[in-house]
Symmetry: C2
Subunit: 96 residues, 2 copies
Amino acid sequence: MFVLITYDISTVDEKGKRRLRKVAKICVNFGQRVQNSVFECKIDPAQCKKIEIDLEKIIDPKQDSLRFYYLGSSKGAKVKHIGVRVSYDIEGPIII
Amino acid sequence: MFVLITYDISTVDEKGKRRLRKVAKICVNFGQRVQNSVFECKIDPAQCKKIEIDLEKIIDPKQDSLRFYYLGSSKGAKVKHIGVRVSYDIEGPIII
């Protein structure tokens, strides 16, 4: 299945910055980072459940948000990209 | 049609911050802000074309990126949300 994961992590403090890095590290194991907080994942339902559980453990639900878009078949959605394509270093500084 | 718009705008300088505000202002006219840089839009093909053209004029393609996910019918995709739901003030300070 094709799952799009998007997130907002509040990085007003150090704890938030750590959460952001942890979330990115998990997502990068399952999919392709296409923007700073957007990952495209081709995963099976078991993997999908795992990533949901893992991410839910990390985030602070009072400050952060996660969204999973279940886009059905492995073909996924039609996508148009405009602009730069960047490779992100999840160990690097936080990008606004 | 249901279109998901995601963006990364480089805000390392004032020009970038202005671009970010302009992009958000346009998106908010067409859809629902669900995260800082993620909008869900229920729009017709003409509106979709307009928003693509408008946004492409604003962004710097060497620094910024835009993605449009065309999710078909107005029903859109199955979505799971975890965590906080925030209302954003696009005139307010930039949220990381």
